[in-house]
């Protein structure tokens, strides 16, 4: 299975994960400051800043894009409960 490295720069932790895992499945377990609300892509609480490798996350869905727009989030921001890891990426709380 393809592997990828996810770095949480707010806590200096890098986790090697199987491709396809969502950020939400990793960040809470290692104690990153990314916070969660609804956990289903609606509330925007888990907005995160993608510092490196944004092309290595799954493309945002129509609904995620809508929430990002409503939160006036730029191209370097994603919802941690939605984004799947496809390659190496560095993230931090927004």
């Amino acid at each position: 299975m393809a592997k990828a490295k996810v770095t949480f720069s707010d806590i200096n932790v890098t986790v090697t994960v199987p491709a396809g895992v969502r950020i939400i499945e990793i960040s809470e377990k290692v104690g990153s400051g990314i916070g969660y609300g609804c956990r289903e892509g609606e509330c925007g609480t888990c907005l995160m800043h993608v510092k490196k490798g944004r092309q290595n996350l799954s493309a945002p869905s129509f609904l995620e894009n809508k929430v990002l727009q409503e939160n006036m989030a730029g191209a370097h921001f994603r919802l941690a409960c939605q984004a799947q890891v496809l390659g190496d990426v560095t993230v931090e709380p927004a």
Binding site: V13, K29, V30, G33
Partner: protein, 418 residues
């Protein structure tokens, strides 16, 4: 019962603006969380410009007729060109569906974050709604006057905004600078003593969002102000700037120490969780740059602990497991934290147990639910901790302290380890 007579027509508050809200003197509990000893008001306003009439917010649904009666006393529905919604909570949008029926030509002005709420509220398709999302720098012209918008989110919902009528130096502030206080005399220089209500409202509604309050004050303080028109309580025309200063005082951190602060709270039935707590305290205290404190929950009241937690950087909670659960004083403390901002603080849990030991995981889940981060896995010890286990507790405390002071080395983990 109330001894005051409430006027049933619109009340002028400035040259172009009328108050068209509603009085609710008999309300005794608001949104389940606030007591309202003399009721509240739902403040809505009407602005008359040369090229149209704007409605600023509406009222709770059951007071809609009162609102429409006041509106009709100063304007016709076909004159309404726009409706500004500074906050979409139902006590301010209850009359909106009916208002849109009576003034279908009106355009809605809302914040960007309010868009999904508006659709949820009106249960209408996007195409059926005429609305414009606005933010700081946007404005709408009413001919001889202009409404300017200010993006002030989380005061106290994500959607909240303020609207400024520059020609009258009048700020429609939404819930900010509001309070639950019902007095027919309406203006702050005429009504009874509402200082307690003002501070109580802040403590329960705005306190969790102090950072956002300070951001909003930075936007609003440069404005010339003759009058603040909030959505609840008295209209502030006497020394309005005093209320901004008071909000700044209430929202500015009291903490003077430069070190990070870690608070350890525990409760112990047989002294085992207490032993763990003190070992964690010792371990955490070995790290410089961190002020560590330890408290037995049996010896204190919840409220001052909430004040301490608000300004701490991390909390550690120790509880035994009794009947498969953490004990009540721990849950009482956790359920009292909704009034403070916890996002990003470090949290951790530990405890001694006799049989199943579920409490630690439960507390960790709750801490995450409250948006704390839990960087060090919880520590559970069966019954009486050995010397070796107490050393593990010390290491646990040290790890937490190092994480909080960013002394922890860069870590590389595999998914299977977390």
């Amino acid at each position: 019962m109330t001894s005051l007579t409430f006027p049933d027509c619109a009340i002028p508050i400035s040259n172009r603006v009328h108050w068209i809200g509603a009085f609710d003197p008999l309300l005794r509990s608001f949104d389940l969380i606030l007591k309202t000893a003399n009721g509240t008001t739902y403040n809505a306003y009407l602005v008359r410009g040369q090229q149209g009439v704007a409605i600023i917010d509406t009222v709770k649904e059951e007071f809609a007729e009162e609102f429409f009666k006041r509106l009709e006393s100063v304007a016709n529905y076909d004159e309404i060109t726009l409706i500004v919604l500074n906050h979409l909570e139902p006590d301010h949008t209850g009359a909106l569906p009916e208002l849109l029926k009576r003034a279908p030509q009106a355009y809605l002005y809302i914040s960007h974050q309010a868009q999904s709420m508006l659709k949820g509220l009106l249960k209408l398709d996007e195409k059926q709604l005429q609305f414009k999302p606005v933010t700081t720098g946007d404005h709408v012209d009413l001919g001889d006057c202009t409404l300017e918008f200010f993006h002030t989110p989380y005061l106290h919902w994500p959607d909240t905004q303020c609207t400024y009528l520059r020609e009258e130096k009048l700020l429609f502030s939404g819930d900010v600078f509001g309070c639950h206080f019902c007095d027919a005399r309406l203006f702050n220089d005429l009504v009874g003593d509402f200082r307690f209500s003002f501070d109580y409202y802040y403590a329960h509604i705005m306190r969790p969002f102090k950072k956002y309050v300070l951001d909003a004050l930075t936007l609003l303080e440069p404005l010339a102000l003759d009058l603040i028109a909030p959505t609840h309580g008295p209209v502030l025309r006497d020394q309005p700037r005093r209320y901004l200063q008071h909000y700044r005082t209430l929202s500015t951190p009291r903490k003077e120490v430069v070190d990070k602060t870690l608070l350890i709270f525990y409760i112990s039935a047989y002294g085992n969780t207490a032993r763990m707590a003190h070992a964690i305290y010792q371990g955490a205290s070995t790290v410089t740059g961190l002020r560590v404190s330890i408290f037995d929950l049996q010896g204190g009241e919840v409220e001052p602990f909430v004040d301490l937690i608000e300004e701490a950087d991390g909390i550690v909670l120790g509880t035994p497991t009794i009947n498969g659960d953490a004990v009540k004083p721990i849950w009482d403390l956790l359920s009292s934290l909704a009034v403070v901002n916890l996002k990003g603080k470090v949290g951790a849990a530990f405890g001694s147990y006799g049989w199943t030991g579920e409490a630690v995981n439960m507390i960790e889940s709750r801490l995450r639910g409250l948006k704390l981060r839990v960087p060090v896995p919880g520590l559970r010890i069966k019954l009486i901790p050995t010397e070796e286990e107490l050393a593990t507790c010390q290491t646990f405390g040290q790890q937490l302290a190092e994480t909080m002071t960013q002394k922890q080395a860069v870590r590389e983990l595999d998914f299977s380890q977390i």
